[in-house]
């Protein structure tokens, strides 16, 4: 990829002109990325994604990038913006300075221009069995009622459920950059999300994948993943808690039980107070 110089971040007023410098890459034409620049007028509340759309709609329709929700929820607009992995829809251009440099996520292959290949991220994610696994398979497959969970038990893992699978943490992780086999912060963070969930009993099954030198123990604790995460998930913490769980077991002692069924014909007090539906008139 052509080298792109960083620029000190400083505010630019609305109505000003922004230089958008993008790493272009077309696999059919280019052997490496080449920078291309456009000028864009800064509008109120303009995000980097808005600026890219302005270029695509008004100046160069061939520019490729990926997005979906445009509100920091789907995780598909991850890019390397002014030297940091960020969500383009979540980054205001006015905070970045007169020159905004955009490149595809590091530690990922580029499919075209700013579109990273996220398939390895999803493969890693799938490899760690990211779903609730129980011993009582019959109940899990055809649940009779919900599993019991207190707010305290939810609090143990809830922050890790906010993961968007945007891959920014993988883009920031130095170990992912140097060690191809490393599972990476996203997948490992999600392992802990399930391990800490008291409805889950899958630690021993997942241990086959993550209790390995390229699993949880491959983490060098650089902490760059947690810094990059746009949702405040702390994958570095999750990996350390996962290591502890691999030694001493999950943080919950017993798996959550199924909520006991009410006796036949039981109605909650509120239900008893609710007015009955009138008899059918037809």
């Amino acid at each position: 990829m052509a080298e792109m110089t960083g620029n000190p971040e400083g505010g630019v007023p609305e109505g000003g002109i922004l230089t958008l410098r993008v790493a272009r890459y077309d696999p059919e034409r280019d052997r490496a990325a080449r920078p291309q620049e456009w000028k864009v007028k800064i509008l109120p509340g303009m995000t980097v994604l808005d600026a890219l759309f302005a270029v695509k709609e008004e100046q160069d329709g061939s520019l490729a990038f990926r997005c979906s929700c445009r509100m920091g929820v789907c995780g598909s607009c991850g890019m390397f913006i002014n030297g940091k992995p960020r969500l383009a829809c979540n980054t205001q251009v006015s905070e970045l300075g007169p020159v905004v440099e955009v490149a595809p996520l590091p530690n990922h292959d580029a499919i075209k221009d700013l579109v990273p290949d996220l398939a390895p991220t999803f493969h890693r994610h799938r490899a760690v069995l990211p779903y609730i696994m129980r011993g009582d398979e019959a109940e899990m497959e055809s649940p009779t009622r919900e599993f019991q969970q207190t707010p305290e038990e939810l609090a143990r893992y809830v922050q890790f459920t906010y993961c968007l699978k945007c891959s920014l943490c993988l883009a920031a992780c130095p170990t992912v950059g140097t060690t191809e086999q490393f599972l990476g912060p996203q997948a490992l963070g999600q392992v802990y999300r399930y391990v800490a969930d008291n409805r889950d009993e899958g630690l021993s099954k997942r241990a086959g994948v993550v209790d390995a030198s390229h699993g949880a123990f491959g983490c060098h604790l650089a902490g760059a993943c947690s810094e990059a995460c746009p949702k405040g998930v702390d994958p570095a913490l999750a990996i350390q808690l996962l290591k502890r769980s691999l030694f001493v077991g999950p943080p919950h002692r017993a798996p959550a039980q199924v909520v006991p069924a009410f006796p036949e014909g039981y109605r909650t007090p509120e239900a008893a107070e609710r007015p009955k539906a009138p008899p059918p008139s037809v």
């Binding site: 170990t175 140097t178 086999q181 241990a207 390995a212 390229h214 699993g215 949880a216 123990f217």
Partner: protein, 120 residues
């Protein structure tokens, strides 16, 4: 073996090394401080001290332990570094086998030397 157990062993060996190396430094290099604490001994490098250390079973066991801790701790680290450079499953198997064979060979040789010395 699971990585968590290998890693735990690595930490235990690190702690063991710390204890044994402190002991070594105290006995061999800071005899003056030990004397100040009221534990006066023969100079560490005197002929009789060297012979005594070579002969005693306690010393031999300590040397073997020190060798074992250092070997495991160091080779575990080396395996980690090599595994990150050549991470393919085949390379990892090769590195693991090489490290175990090398470690065992050095350990056996070291134990033989310590036992041999203790017997004379």
């Amino acid at each position: 073996m699971r990585e968590s157990r290998l890693w735990a062993l690595h930490l235990i060996c690190g702690a063991g090394l710390l204890v044994l190396l402190s002991l070594h430094m105290g006995l061999m290099h800071y005899a003056g401080i030990l004397a100040l604490l009221g534990w006066a001994r023969e100079p560490a490098m005197s002929f009789s001290s060297v012979v005594e250390r070579g002969r005693g079973a306690a010393w031999a066991s300590m040397y073997v332990l020190l060798l074992g801790f250092a070997l495991y701790h160091g080779l575990y680290g080396l395996r980690g570094v090599l595994g990150e450079i050549w991470g393919t499953p085949r390379a990892v198997r090769f590195i693991n086998t090489g490290v175990v064979i090398f470690g065992l060979a050095v350990l056996v040789y070291g134990v033989a030397v310590a036992v041999q010395a203790a017997r004379h």
